[in-house]
């Protein structure tokens, strides 16, 4: 039986593993941490239908039980090498594994907001990231720096994406709709709390997104301001003072908010960067480079080495899952074409 190694047990890795296992391929699923689906479990509800992230995580975990999947959690694959007929995987402890084909599904990490010091993350308590906000929503405890109920929450889009200075010129794709989603959640949980979103332009690309955006304005009264926040400062009562410009009005703007939520973008994860570099498939910004985005989006150009999910570029969960299925089929074709 053919053996396939999948690196990364996120939505893409698990989905590809289950599809391949159903086709009768023997799959080993490597994951650096002890539990799968780390990133998805940080989330509360998912756009655009506000389904609980836990449900999706549970469904995906269920797929791990498919026959033919061996879960190898807590194993950090540091390097992979082509041996002429098969791939050799080497983990951080030096142990080796072999496989006929490898799927890289090492995923993303969020931009470290400390790098944008002018926004005061890590300096002012009132400045948090979208992940922190997701946790607050998840636990139903949205509080300001002093532990009180906030009166105003402000979102800032494009932190660490579409930003030449931090070297990430690309769009992270999911933050626009995430901010809309979170703002709606806040209004649902705290009807008295004002919410506003500072954006460059809102990219409502997916099905149902535009409707969500409209609902956010009409039903939930969330205000959207076109402009960047240039600088944040703490006030004496632990709130955050923002300096910005409303570029539609053409006016400078100063406002005070309880919480400033930085919508941090997606970056290639450390594992993605390291693996990409180790086997020479690293593209721009440390993401994995595929042959062409149109027809061979899972092929890396190396025999038997495939990639799926957010290790290639920012993606939503469903994009990742679909991409993983496509990758599974490509891998199946590849292992079938191998001489017996």
């Amino acid at each position: 039986m053919r053996k396939v190694a999948i690196i990364g047990a996120g939505p893409a890795g698990i989905e590809a593993a289950s599809v391949l296992a159903k086709y009768g391929v023997q799959v080993t699923l490597f994951e650096k941490s002890e539990t799968p689906l780390k990133n998805i479990q940080d989330k509360a509800f998912l756009f655009p239908n506000f389904q609980a992230a836990q449900e999706i995580a549970d469904d995906l975990s269920g797929k791990l039980l498919t026959d033919g999947i061996t879960s190898a959690f807590g194993i950090d694959i540091a390097d992979i090498k082509w041996q002429g007929t098969e791939w050799k995987l080497i983990d951080a402890k030096g142990q080796t594994y072999v496989a006929d084909a490898v799927l890289v599904a090492t995923g993303y990490q969020v931009f470290d907001a400390h790098r944008k010091e002018e926004l005061g993350y890590g300096i002012y308590k009132g400045v948090i990231t979208s992940l922190d906000m997701e946790q607050m929503i998840k636990h139903g405890k949205i509080t300001n720096a002093n532990g009180d109920e906030p009166k105003r929450i402000t979102f800032l889009q494009c932190v660490g994406s579409r930003d030449e200075k931090s070297g990430n010129n690309y769009c992270s794709k999911i933050c626009c709709v995430t901010a809309v989603k979170q703002a709606i959640e806040i209004r649902k949980q705290l009807p008295k709390c004002e919410a506003s979103v500072f954006y460059m332009d809102l990219r409502m690309w997916g099905q149902g997104f535009e409707e969500m955006y409209r609902m956010a304005q009409e039903k939930y009264g969330i205000s959207f301001v076109r402009g960047r926040i240039s600088e944040a400062a703490a006030t004496f009562d632990g709130r955050v003072q923002l300096k910005s410009e409303d570029t539609l009005m053409g006016l400078p703007l100063k406002m005070t908010t309880d919480l400033l939520v930085l919508m941090v973008g997606m970056e290639a994860s450390c594992g993605t960067k390291a693996l990409g570099q180790a086997c020479g498939i690293n593209g721009e910004y440390g993401f994995i480079k595929t042959v062409t985005p149109h027809l061979y989006d899972n092929d890396t150009g190396k025999p038997g080495l495939f990639a799926a999910g957010t290790c290639k570029r920012p993606m939503s969960i469903w994009d990742s899952v679909n991409d993983a299925r496509a990758a599974a089929i490509a891998i199946k074709d590849y292992v079938d074409s191998l001489p017996q």
Partner: protein
């Protein structure tokens, strides 16, 4: 009777014309430039007319004009090359003059009519007499008498100034009593060899400049190359001429005689005047081209050293002093090697040497503007320049946007100037950039509190820019407006000291303002607090590399204090390019022409230097540099010195 012996040959004419034109043009130029000095600069010159400062000036002229000590210290081989040319040629002229003086003195004393007859038969001497002298006293001086067929006479040897240059042609055989003759010949040959050493190195430098420690050399214009060619030809021609003469008359030193012995006297006899003519021609060509080429620096540098030593400085606008600075540039190209725009971005057109050349050629228009604007103002070239030209000032002058009317533009600032009574307090000026790196200002507030120092955070709510970014871009009026506002604010507050966190503001407050209180950067201030025991800090076990910000290090010479503070709280690691050699972070406000990609490349080069050895954190003392590195990397924490100290405070 008076017999005159006058050495002359037609071949001296090119040399004579060259010399006359050279000094004529140079003096004309110098007078014109001195007329353009500003009143302020004239006052300095006038009040220092009889100053003792002339002595250090002469000493420096000797050190820099002849020995080239500054280049020697930076780059031994390059220094030797320049020294061989300058000192070697200078000594050739000097020793040549002394030698001819001694020889003629001996001739004069000898009063030998035989020698005169011999000279008469030789080419290049004119012997004539001026008849009877009626004054009996004149001939009665015994020493100066010679008996000839026509009666008692006295021989006069004339020594025109060019004799020293062409000495061996005119004096084939030194008088027997001139015993030092051979020693002089050998000494002159040694000096000629010394110059040849420089010449050889210069030729090597053309093909393989790296041997001489230059990554890249200046691209010269046609006239510069032509002039250089004539300069290079002078010495081989001199060798040829002296060797031919040595071959014919045996009057050479160890080198010229050895070369001369290779020739056949029968063949070279007819060539003698021709080769001397070539030598003279090369001298003439070089002298005529000199005032119009980079070699104008030879004399101008000496005057520049004098002016600088007595205290003349560049001003905001172009003055006569600027012209001296422009012409003192030898286009040696030392400024090219260190320039990050050259080294990292491979842009070989905008370095200071080219800026100065464009300014000297009175270029205007887009090319000059492109050169002037594309510079980080990191001052790396200023510290490297062996002539000590104020290169950033020249760039600022070129960028000057002229007198733009700013009436009414800055009225809004008065509203921001809330007067504050800060008597007995320290004024703290964070600056615009520190507001974008609030970790620094927060740490400074903690440090003030920990030291028990009452302070006034003067720009906590509304910042008025220090003016330097405008100044750097040539908006002189506007910068002055801002400086005025800040000066008012500080003077009225009664604060005792001004502490700044941003080196850009620091340099501005220190050099462009005229405040009556001390101005310190926070690294100096923290250093002082620690030394006075007002700040209790612990020492951690992190390894930290320190980035010298341009404006703090090269700009204000603050290298020690940051290092002492860092050594007090953490383990400071040395890096390859540090202190004066520190690589700009690339995000300096000086350059408006670089794209972010280009800035990023420079930043990465600077970062590579800081992280070449394993470190736990990168320290700097400038919010701009901090942000530049912070944006670059997830791998290293980037901290200001103030933050590292605040982290290590013992409460």
């Amino acid at each position: 009777m008076k017999i005159h012996a006058y050495p002359y040959n037609d071949f001296v004419i090119p040399f004579l014309i060259g010399t006359i034109l050279l000094f004529g043009i140079i003096i004309y130029k110098y007078i014109r430039w001195i007329k353009k000095f500003s009143d302020e600069q004239r006052k300095i010159i006038r009040s220092n007319w009889y100053s003792w400062k002339i002595f250090p000036a002469i000493w420096e002229m000797f050190r820099e004009g002849l020995l080239h000590v500054r280049i020697l210290k930076k780059n031994l081989l390059l220094g030797i090359m320049h020294q061989a040319y300058a000192l070697g040629w200078f000594l050739l002229i000097l020793v040549g003059a002394i030698e001819s003086r001694d020889a003629f003195y001996t001739l004069q004393h000898e009063q030998s009519i035989e020698t005169v007859r011999e000279l008469e038969s030789q080419n290049g001497w004119y012997i004539y007499n001026t008849g009877e002298n009626k004054d009996p006293e004149y001939l009665n001086q015994r020493r100066y008498r010679v008996e000839t067929d026509e009666g008692i006479a006295r021989i006069h040897y004339h020594r025109p100034f060019y004799v020293g240059i062409f000495y061996r042609y005119f004096v084939h055989k030194a008088p027997a009593s001139f015993r030092q003759h051979q020693a002089y010949s050998n000494l002159m040959d040694a000096l000629l060899l010394y110059v040849f050493l420089g010449l050889t190195m210069a030729i090597i430098k053309i093909f393989w400049s790296k041997i001489l420690g230059m990554r890249r050399t200046t691209k010269h214009t046609i006239i510069d190359r032509f002039s250089k060619f004539s300069l290079w030809m002078i010495f081989p021609m001199r060798l040829l001429a002296e060797s031919v003469t040595a071959c014919l008359y045996g009057n050479g030193g160890f080198f010229t005689q050895a070369v001369g012995n290779l020739f056949d006297p029968m063949i070279v006899r007819g060539m003698e005047t021709s080769v001397w003519m070539l030598y003279s021609l090369m001298l003439g060509v070089f002298f005529v081209t000199m005032p119009f080429t980079r070699y104008m620096h030879i004399f101008t540098e000496l005057l520049l050293i004098y002016f600088r030593k007595i205290g003349v400085r560049e001003e905001t606008g172009k003055t006569g002093y600027t012209l001296f600075e422009l012409n003192a540039c030898s286009r040696c190209g030392v400024c090219i090697s260190g320039c990050p725009i050259d080294r990292v971005l491979e842009n070989h057109e905008i370095q200071s040497v080219y800026l100065i050349r464009s300014l000297r050629n009175q270029e205007r228009g887009s090319r000059l503007k492109m050169i002037a604007d594309n510079c980080l103002m990191c001052d790396r070239c200023t510290v490297d320049c062996p002539v000590g030209i104020d290169l950033s000032a020249l760039r600022r002058q070129t960028r000057a946007k002229g007198a733009i009317d700013t009436t009414g533009n800055y009225t809004y600032l008065s509203k921001r100037q809330t007067p504050f009574n800060a008597i007995g307090r320290v004024a703290y000026f964070g600056g615009c950039m520190s507001h974008l790196a609030p970790g620094i200002t927060e740490s400074m507030e903690r440090i003030f509190t920990a030291a028990g120092q009452k302070y006034w955070y003067m720009d906590k709510l509304g910042t008025i820019c220090c003016g330097r970014p405008l100044q750097q871009q040539g908006f002189t009026n506007q910068a002055a407006e801002l400086r005025q506002k800040n000066t008012d604010l500080i003077q009225k507050s009664g604060a005792t000291m001004l502490v700044t966190s941003c080196p850009i503001c620091y340099q501005s407050f220190k050099k462009e303002y005229n405040l009556n209180i001390p101005v310190v950067h926070h690294t100096e201030y923290i250093d002082m607090l620690i030394k006075q025991g007002r700040l209790k800090v612990r020492h951690d076990d992190r390894k930290v590399s320190y980035h010298d910000p341009c404006e703090l290090g090269r700009g204000c010479g603050i290298y020690e204090e940051p290092r002492q503070v860092l050594s007090a709280v953490t383990n400071l690691q040395k890096t390859r390019y540090q202190r004066e050699k520190s690589v700009c972070c690339g995000f300096n406000l000086g350059d408006t022409k670089l794209s972010i990609e280009e800035q990023t490349k420079i930043r990465n080069a600077s970062l590579a230097n800081l992280t070449s050895k394993p470190v736990d954190a990168i320290a700097t003392a400038c919010p701009m540099c901090k942000k530049a590195f912070q944006h670059a990397t997830n791998d290293y924490p980037v901290r200001d010195i103030a933050e590292i100290v605040a982290e290590n405070l013992i409460d």
